[in-house]
Each structure stands twice: as structure tokens, then as C-alpha cells.
């Protein structure tokens, strides 16, 4: 299939040459655009945090956001499922489109949006409940009460998050008792249980030890055949390892975006080159 690339290509997005990407799982197919922002500005009170961001995120692939701390990459990620709504005094201009639908349209239900665009945070955030209740949380708030169906969802989510074998005998234990890496995979499983099509990850491995990081990265790699994944990371090697496309943010601007391989080997902008060669950040 050859879905069309949309005509409104943002200026910062370089022309897409046929991709020759490194990872084995990527095919050379051009993908449909899942998420798109157009001229997005974002403000905390009077401070402008994002300047005119236009970006397209193709489906069933991993897009990484890199950049120094405070560059706006996390803020941008959080606008994609309107998490910034819960912070007082924020506002935006421009559009964010999910499969062509403006997510800031007043008719859009933010709760329904977040069910489709899930999120995993830097710090693992298990609820002080059992493992089962953690995973079942999303389906339950969506109104599902049938226990056998819930059990199915919990099992399949945990399997998809590669956590099932480790916890299948202790579903009633508190999630707080899991190790840091397990907690983070639990949070991923919890996000998967709501059946999202997009998964936003805000530095999901930055608080983990190397072994757990590898497991999370493997997991991301496995998940991308079914989900559109956007990951914020300060770790460039990680971006290079897991992502198909990479976007570089600096001081609230989107400097450059392109296939990961290209961006890391032949950056087009001087700032990008300085950053990836370690001259700042």
C-alpha cells in the first residue's frame, strides 16, 4: 500500500528520499501520517515554550525527539495527548491533528483522545494497587466490568510488555513491590491495556539500569509493528538504536527532522551537528 504523504509539508521537514534505514524491522514503505502538528506555538503563562512546530509522525514506526534539557521536546510530546491541559495557565496556537482530526476541536473529548494516545512517563508511576488493578485501571475507567474480559486484557497487555512471565503468579501483589525496570514495563503494559494506537514515551528508560534499559528498548522495537511510538530521550545512542526517524529540538524550535540514520550521519543543520557530536547539550 502507498498512502499519500500530505501536501502541507512543513518547511523544516527535509524532502524524503526513499528511506534506507538501518533496522531490520523497517521496510522501505512510506507510511501514513498518524499525527501531525501545524505551526504549533505553546506558552506557559507568558513564556513561549514552543515556536512554530510543524511535524509529521508516520504510523507504526518509532519517532525520537532529542535535544538538550529545556529544549521543549517533553512539552511538545505532552501537547500530543493534551496532557498540558491539566497545567494551569498554558495555551497554544496552531493545530495538532490525529488522523486528520484536530484534537483541540471543542467537540473532541480529551478523555477519548488520551485513550487513543497513551503515555508513559520518565518516572514509573505505578498506582498503589495490585499489579492486576494497575493494568485493569484503564479498561475499568472506560466502563468495562466483566472480570473474564479484564483478565484477558491484563494477560495480553502484560505479554505484549514482556512482563507476563515475571508477574503471572503474583497478580494480587502490590505493584509498588516490583523493581524499577519492572515498574516501568508495568506502566507500558498499563498504557497498552487501553488499546491506544499511539504511545508517547517521555524518557522511559532514563531512570533505569542498563539491563532494564535494554529490555525496554527491545520492547519498543517489538511494539512498533502495531503502534505508533513517539519517544523523548536525552540519550542519543538510544535514539539511534530504537527509532526510525529523529527530530532535533533546540530552544523551543524544531531544528531538523529526518530518518534517524541520515540525521546522525549527515545532519543538515550546524546546530544538529554540534549537538550530536557532543559540542553542547
Amino acid at each position: 500500500m502507498f498512502p499519500t504523504m500530505t501536501a502541507e509539508k512543513p518547511i523544516s521537514l527535509k524532502p524524503q528520499v526513499p528511506l534506507r534505514e538501518p533496522s531490520a524491522a523497517t521496510d522501505d514503505v512510506q507510511r501514513a501520517i498518524k499525527l501531525e502538528t501545524r505551526h504549533l506555538d505553546f506558552y506557559y503563562g507568558n513564556n513561549q515554550a514552543l515556536h512554530d512546530i510543524s511535524l509529521q509522525i508516520p504510523e507504526r514506526s518509532v519517532t525520537a525527539f532529542i535535544g538538550p534539557s529545556g529544549c521543549g521536546k517533553s512539552t511538545f510530546l505532552r501537547t500530543l495527548n493534551r496532557m498540558n491541559d491539566i497545567i494551569e495557565g498554558t495555551r497554544h496556537t496552531g493545530d495538532v491533528l490525529l488522523e486528520g482530526t484536530d484534537i483541540f476541536d471543542p467537540r473532541v473529548d480529551v478523555v477519548a483522545l488520551r485513550k487513543r494516545v497513551g503515555m508513559v512517563f520518565q518516572k514509573s508511576t505505578p498506582f498503589p494497587k495490585s499489579i492486576f488493578d494497575n493494568i485493569a485501571y484503564g479498561p475499568r475507567v472506560a466502563g468495562l466490568k466483566d472480570l473474564s474480559r479484564l483478565t484477558e486484557i491484563v494477560e495480553s497487555s502484560l505479554k505484549r510488555a514482556a512482563l507476563w512471565d515475571e508477574v503471572k503468579d503474583r497478580m494480587r501483589d502490590s505493584a509498588m513491590a516490583l523493581s524499577g525496570g519492572q515498574q516501568q514495563r508495568l506502566c507500558i503494559a498499563r498504557a497498552l491495556a487501553t488499546e491506544p494506537d499511539v504511545l508517547l514515551m517521555d524518557e522511559p528508560a532514563s531512570a533505569l539500569d542498563p539491563a532494564s534499559t535494554t529490555r525496554v528498548e527491545d520492547l519498543i522495537f517489538d511494539l512498533k509493528s502495531n503502534y505508533t511510538i513517539v519517544i523523548v530521550t536525552h540519550n542519543m545512542q538510544q535514539a539511534a538504536r530504537v527509532s526510525d526517524r529523529t527530530a532535533f529540538f533546540y530552544q523551543g524550535h524544531l531544528v531538523e527532522v529526518g530518518p534517524t540514520q541520515e540525521l546522525f550521519t549527515r545532519p543538515k543543520e550546524k546546530q544538529t551537528e554540534d549537538y550530536i557530536t557532543g559540542r553542547f547539550g
Binding site: M83, F127, G138, R140, A191
Partner: protein, 297 residues
């Protein structure tokens, strides 16, 4: 200078020791050689007796205890839902501006002297609220009754429940709220399914503390609750009068009993009972609260 400051700080220990000594001295064993209360009335009779009649020398604590528990229970039934819902409203729903106005106003409720609540219960709540209400179903409400006292005590401790529960709710990390929102929760889901369960032990500690305050509450029950239980027996019916431990202590001290008499000593025995109950509740509350705080650090 440091020694002087140490004495100031040590005074709090002396106060606590003084309270314990004074209560034990008249009720358990007197260092000055008089007979203490429990040397004349066996402890088990005091703790199991269901009649309090000093004329006939019956000192069973249960009429006083049931009165106290009745008022505290009604107070809890009023204050826990009101206080908890206010806390949830203030921390999860209200804008910062609304909170800045409502919080101090709620604290005013806690600042009104308890004697005022008692007077209000006696002059307004009983005759103009409870009598007409229970009159509809043909029930008679006494001039003095445990219900009116319990209701005003409940209102009185609502700000305490609210502010301590709000502290507990606010100490639930914001990251948990965000995680819940990211899973497609409404504000209701976040409050009821995540925040309140996460803050649960802190809320329990708050309620325990407030109810121990209700148990020690004096003037509202002295004025509105009454000076005896029906027939000197157990206080069961909240529409009849009650005689709480605190009312009893006030009653004895404002009547002309002689130092050294049984009535006088019974004041200390009841005081000791009250002290032990409230102290235990406070200690449990602090223990629960400490465990709760540790869970989020």
C-alpha cells in the same frame, strides 16, 4: 543560656508527666496516703458497670462511655463525609482563587468557641431543626439530646478533617494524577479511583485525630447534651439526653463536692479514662500518618 532553653523545652515533658501523675494519684494510687478511687471501687466494676449512680455508689463507666461514643459517632458521621468531600473539592476541583477564599472561611468554623456551638445546638438545632423534623414521624426530641450535640461537634471538627485530608491528598504525587489522566481518566476517575485510594491511610489518620477531638469535646455537649443519661443507664437513643465523660467532669467540678470524697475522686478516674482513649487514638493516628508519609518519599 542553653540550659535555660532546655528547661523551656523540657517543660512539655513535665506537663505530660504532671498530667499522668495527677490522674493516677487520685485514681490508682495516692502518694499522699489517701485512698485512691480504684482502691475503693474495683477497676473491673468500673470498666464493666452499666449504671452510674453516685448516690448508691454505683460507678460503672458505660453510661458515660456510650454517651461519649454516641456523640463522637454522630460527629464522625457528619464531619467525615463533609470534610473529605470539601478536601477533594479544594484540592482536585477548585481553582487556586476559590481555594484562597474558602480555606480561611472553613478555618473560621474551627475558630468559633465551642461554647457558642453548644448554645446554638440548644437554642436552634434542637427546637427549630430536629423537633420539626422528627415531629413529622412522631418522634419526640428531648431538650437535651445527643443528636444535636453530635451534629454541632461534627460541624466543629469538619475543618480539621478537611484540612488534614487535603494535606494527605496533596501529598499524592502529581505524577500519579498525570498517569491516570494519560490512561483516559476523567477528573472523577482520578479523584475517586487514584488519589483518594492513594491518600487513604493519611485520610484515616485525619479522621482518627478529628474523632479523638470529638471525644474530648466538652462545652457543646455540656450545654446541649444534658447532665444525665435516661435512668442513669446506657445512652442508646440519640434523641434523649446523654452524659459524656467530659460533661461529667464539668458537672462534678462545678458542684460543691469536697476534695477527698468519692465524687471528687471519680472525676480523676473518668479523666484518666478520657485521657487514655484520646492518647491512644492520637498515637495510632500519628503512626498511620508517619507510615503514609514514608510511602511517598
Amino acid at each position: 543560656m542553653q540550659q535555660v532553653l532546655f528547661l523551656c523545652a523540657g517543660l512539655s515533658i513535665v506537663t505530660m508527666a504532671g498530667i499522668v501523675f495527677v490522674l493516677l494519684n487520685e485514681s490508682v494510687y495516692s502518694v499522699l496516703g489517701d485512698q485512691a478511687f480504684f482502691q475503693e471501687i474495683p477497676l473491673w466494676k468500673f470498666l464493666t458497670g452499666t449504671r452510674w449512680h453516685w448516690d448508691s455508689g454505683e460507678f460503672g463507666v458505660w453510661p458515660l462511655l456510650t454517651s461519649t461514643l454516641q456523640v463522637a459517632l454522630i460527629g464522625g458521621l457528619v464531619s467525615v463525609p463533609l470534610g473529605l468531600c470539601s478536601a477533594i473539592y479544594l484540592s482536585e476541583y477548585a481553582t487556586p482563587r476559590t481555594r484562597r477564599v474558602i480555606k480561611p472561611t472553613l478555618e473560621l468554623l474551627a475558630g468559633v468557641p465551642t461554647v457558642v456551638y453548644g448554645y446554638f445546638a440548644l437554642m436552634f438545632v434542637t427546637p427549630y431543626v430536629l423537633r420539626p423534623l422528627f415531629g413529622l414521624v412522631g418522634l419526640e426530641v428531648g431538650t437535651f439530646n445527643g443528636l444535636a450535640a453530635g451534629i454541632v461537634v461534627g460541624i466543629m471538627i469538619t475543618p480539621l478533617v478537611a484540612s488534614l485530608s487535603e494535606d494527605a491528598i496533596r501529598s499524592v504525587p502529581q505524577s500519579l494524577r498525570e498517569a491516570a489522566y494519560a490512561l483516559g481518566s476523567t477528573r472523577f476517575d482520578v479523584s475517586v479511583r487514584v488519589v483518594v485510594p492513594a491518600a487513604f491511610s493519611g485520610i484515616v489518620a485525619a479522621c482518627l485525630l478529628a474523632i479523638s477531638r470529638a471525644i474530648g469535646e466538652t462545652m457543646a455537649v455540656v450545654i446541649a447534651g444534658g447532665q444525665n443519661t435516661p435512668g442513669g443507664g446506657l445512652a442508646i437513643n440519640p434523641l434523649r439526653e446523654v452524659f459524656t465523660m467530659t460533661s461529667y467532669i464539668v458537672n462534678v467540678s462545678s458542684s460543691d463536692v469536697e476534695a477527698g470524697s468519692m465524687e471528687y475522686k471519680s472525676l480523676y478516674a473518668v479523666g484518666l479514662t478520657l485521657f487514655v482513649i484520646t492518647l491512644l487514638m492520637n498515637i495510632v493516628s500519628q503512626w498511620v500518618m508517619r507510615r503514609f508519609r514514608e510511602a511517598y518519599q
